[in-house]
């Protein structure tokens, strides 16, 4: 909250002035890559609890056979299409938390996504804006670049609503000083002359912005060569991951990148090791693996979080699919992640059917409030103090999950 005393104001200005000229974007910023699996991902078939008989009993045709799955621990195995991500788990960079979720009982995609993106719960204290938007707004003064937050796609995700600067782009080429006359050299020269002659903070920020633009434009207009043999899939998720990697490499002050992957609402013919969901998993795993390989030289600079609005029922339905459930497996990747483990209790607790005692659809019991996980991801990646955490998720005392 702003206090309007003269002294506070002056000290604020003085503080703020310092990092302004220190070329903020060039700093070693860490990037949080937020992947949202839209539609309610059946994570039980991604992180297969192959040691659990109940899983096989309730899913006679949809379960991933233990012989087909990629064995990780004595409890869990990965879906065969997750193969590209196996090594990340073995290196201890990919981790998961079982039975995470939002307490919304409606089973509505819209409501659960909305709550999760705003950082709300059914009985909690709602706060305005998206949770990432609020976070960036908390830090609006000291760390800011026009490219602090980028959403890949065509619409602003709710999680970034309220952010001080957010760009919705499909490609890196969308970030440009657009010169309708086509004479971009003359325009940049003129801007440089005008802002360079301005001795105030504004002039300094203008020059920095031009510098940033110069670095972006150096990347544009030519075919991007990925490194370390990374091959991005030709789908839109793959190209989105490629654009994120390019932004990250260029050190443009990117703090949050949001990207969606849809197609997880598998009520009909979900498939098992092959089929509808397997194709989605392939897209996800290949896209993530390409980014991770491409950014091998930048390993300390990013954390990927993968979430969805809810998991699905444990049992399969009559049309060989699964219906909306509750808890899901949250995933995170990065050097700061305490990977190589799936957190959460065992055996997995679930309701076989719609529970008459607790409202809402059955599925995995919510063991961990998603907000504790999100807060921990922020703490471990971009940094989040206790005081900030309270502002971010009002009424929540942050609890360590152990993932970061």
């Amino acid at each position: 909250m702003s206090t309007f005393t003269r002294r506070a104001l002056l000290s604020k200005l003085a503080l703020a002035a310092a990092p302004t000229f220190a070329a903020v974007p060039r700093e070693e910023t860490h990037t949080l890559i937020h992947v949202f699996l839209r539609g309610g991902c059946d994570t039980l078939n991604l992180w297969v609890p192959y040691a659990d008989d109940q899983y096989y009993r309730l899913r006679p045709s949809l379960a991933i056979k233990a012989s087909e799955a990629i064995r990780l621990t004595d409890r869990y195995a990965l879906h065969p299409m997750m193969k590209p991500m196996e090594s990340m788990f073995k290196e201890g960079r990919l981790g998961a938390v079982q039975s995470v979720g939002v307490d919304n009982t409606t089973g509505s995609h819209f409501e659960c996504q909305d709550m999760m993106e705003h950082g709300d719960t059914m009985d909690g204290t709602p706060a305005g804006g998206g949770w990432l938007g609020r976070y960036l707004r908390l830090r609006a003064v000291d760390k800011q670049s026009p490219l602090s937050a980028v959403a890949i796609g065509t619409t602003l995700p709710e999680s970034l609503r309220g952010a001080p600067a957010v760009s919705v782009i499909e490609r890196l080429d969308d970030i440009a000083i657009k010169t309708p006359s086509g004479d971009s050299e003359a325009v940049v020269k003129a801007l440089k002359a005008m802002y360079g002659a301005d001795v105030t903070l504004l002039g300094g920020r203008g020059v920095e912005t031009l510098d940033l633009f110069k670095r972006v434009s150096a990347l544009q207009g030519k075919d991007y060569q990925s490194e370390n043999g990374a091959v991005y899939p030709k789908d839109s998720f793959g190209s989105g991951m490629r654009e994120i990697a390019r932004l990250l490499k260029a050190r443009l002050g990117l703090q949050v990148a949001c990207i969606d992957l849809g197609g997880w609402d598998t009520h009909f013919f979900q498939g098992n090791a092959i089929g509808q969901q397997a194709e989605c998993i392939k897209t996800l795993a290949e896209g993530i693996a390409a980014l991770d390989a491409d950014l091998k030289g930048h390993r300390g600079r990013y954390t990927v979080m993968i979430t969805t609005e809810f998991g699905r029922r444990v049992y399969e339905n009559a049309s060989l699919g699964t219906d909306h459930g509750r808890g899901f497996t949250f995933m995170a990747l990065g050097d700061r992640v305490k990977g190589g483990q799936v957190l959460g209790s065992w055996p997995i607790k679930a309701d076989d059917d719609v529970n008459v005692n607790t409202p809402g659809p059955g599925g995995l019991h919510l063991e961990t409030d998603y907000r504790h996980v999100f807060a921990e991801v922020l703490r471990g990646s971009l940094g989040l103090s206790k005081a900030e955490s309270v502002k971010l998720f009002p009424g929540v005392v942050p609890k360590a999950v152990g993932l970061l």
Binding site: M1, T20, A140, P164, K178, A197
Partner: protein, 495 residues
């Protein structure tokens, strides 16, 4: 703002004909240009000084920048008279703006009835309305104050049900009292359904059963943000006592058979009817719903409130660190008039400090965009494509997440200059989707029949003559590029 039945009907008729006639927007534009003076004057007189023209300055602060011809009009009638006229918005005919901005149906509904609309429709209509009013209203000072109070009594559309409730808050709280009395404004805001939801007042009830709890959120923000300021001298006890006064005011759209179903209401059995003591003043027991009036009166009349509001107004209208002497005088006027907003603004805008502060403020993105469109006599219906750049610059309407509202600090706004440059250059080149401008015609008016030069464009847009260096920096592109660069340059970011 009168939204009479007649004007509603008129607007409805117009929007129906819009559906029937393709290109009705163009018809409105034509009508506005022909009959309501929305066009370009044939000749514009330019400032000749190296200092920002005082009338241009007034229009940059007490308005969202000047429309071509405005500066001459203010000079002709005299600045004091112009300020008086603006302080009485009812006396100014705003037909041209109404033709554009009265088409949004959802803005006429009560809080409870707005639930009939889908969220995207509500978001689009209230946002477009705000943008169109800022660009086209002749009641510019009124619109500037609407923006000020919208920040001061911030409500984020995305929290809870606020999106359904903000339209009536905008109409019945902000716009109704924007130039009225501060006490009335706060009283209206306290029981606005949107505010009851946004700051959880609707859940504030007396502690009787174990699960009943008072909710102090609104009581705290009422003192910290809306009236006295964080260092205003109230205590935690005052917050708790204020929450007791407020208990029982709630909003519930699911009450059937209630006459005032779609409004907020007072629930006596939720109210704590004991004696309270707020800021040293006793509110006797059994006050019922009148406790609220007493509370509003006590906090609004407090010296800290006058000081807090004076500083905030001076920061918005004068400079980021305003002269202390001015803040003191504005606060004294606030106290003397019991929060008469017109009197306070009159003193502020006529002060020497105000005139002396020329060029000291940074335009926030909204003012940057609107002043650019006004200066070029732009024609727009404020569709999504026009609101998108504002979002990129971090200043989307009704989207600030926390109750303190968009800031008047300058630094946080300097991170999005690239999007300002792109908007300015696209606008001048006629490439900004959803906006039509005619730089050629503007040039003719500025050049007195001949083509205008760099100096003329610069003087028109910035309100003063450019320096040699500024002319050189602009280079020798065509007129569209020149205008675009001036809009993108540092001088135009200030006001």
């Amino acid at each position: 703002m009168q939204t009479t039945r007649r004007s509603l009907l008129k607007a409805t008729t117009l929007s129906f004909s819009a559906a029937a006639l393709a290109g009705c927007d163009r018809v409105i534009t034509q009508v506005n240009r022909e009959f309501f003076g929305e066009g370009l004057p044939s000749k514009l007189i330019l400032p000749t000084s190296v200092e920002i023209d005082p009338e241009f300055h007034l229009l940059s602060r007490a308005a969202f920048g000047s429309w071509p011809g405005d500066v001459q009009r203010v000079k002709k009638m005299g600045r004091e008279k112009w300020i008086e006229e603006q302080l009485n918005p009812g006396s100014i005919s705003d037909t041209a703006c109404d033709l554009r901005a009265e088409q949004f149906e959802s803005l006429y509904f009560s809080a409870g009835d707005a639930y009939e609309f889908r969220k995207p429709v509500l978001r689009e209509e209230i946002t477009r309305h705000a943008m169109l009013r800022a660009i086209y209203s002749r009641r510019q000072l009124f619109e500037v104050m609407v923006e000020f109070w919208t920040d001061h009594l911030n409500i984020d559309l995305e929290k809870g049900d606020c999106i359904y409730l903000k339209p009536s808050d905008d109409r019945d709280v902000i716009r109704k009292h924007a130039l009225g009395n501060f006490h009335d404004l706060i009283r209206a805001s306290a029981t606005s359904p949107a505010m009851l939801v946004y700051l959880d007042g609707k859940a504030n009830k007396v502690r009787r059963k174990t699960d009943d709890k008072p909710n102090e959120n609104y009581a705290r923000e009422l003192m910290e943000l809306h009236t006295m300021g964080a260092s205003g001298g109230y205590t935690q006890d005052d917050v708790r006592e204020a929450a007791r006064c407020l208990s029982g005011w709630t909003f519930d759209r699911n009450r059937f058979f209630a006459m005032n179903q779609s409004e907020s209401f007072f629930k006596p059995d939720w109210h704590d009817d004991g004696e309270k003591r707020v800021l040293g003043q006793v509110i006797p027991a059994k006050g019922g719903e009148s406790d609220l009036d007493r509370l509003v009166d006590i906090v609004c009349s407090h010296t800290s409130t006058a000081n807090f509001l004076a500083l905030k107004l001076c920061r918005r209208f004068v400079s980021e660190i305003p002269p202390e002497n001015l803040v003191k005088r504005v606060a004294a006027e606030f106290t003397r008039t019991h929060g008469d907003i017109k009197c306070v603004l009159r003193l502020l805008l006529n002060s020497e400090e105000f005139i002396a502060s020329r060029g000291q403020l940074l335009k926030r993105p909204l003012k940057f965009m609107v002043s650019a469109m006004r200066a070029l006599a732009a024609d727009t219906q404020a569709e999504k494509s026009v609101l998108e750049p504002l979002q990129r610059m971090g200043h989307g309407f009704f989207q600030y997440p926390t109750p303190d509202g968009y800031t008047d600090d300058e630094l946080p706004w300097m991170g999005t200059l690239m999007w300002r440059w792109n908007f300015g250059m696209a606008l001048a080149a006629g490439k900004q989707p959803g906006v039509r401008v005619n730089v050629y015609e503007l040039g003719k008016a500025l050049g007195n029949g001949k083509a205008a030069n760099h100096v003329a464009y610069f003087s028109h847009l910035v309100g003063r003559c450019p320096t040699e260096a500024e002319i050189t920096a602009l280079g020798d592109g065509d007129e569209k590029q020149t205008v675009g660069l001036i809009l993108a340059g540092p001088a135009f970011q200030r006001c």
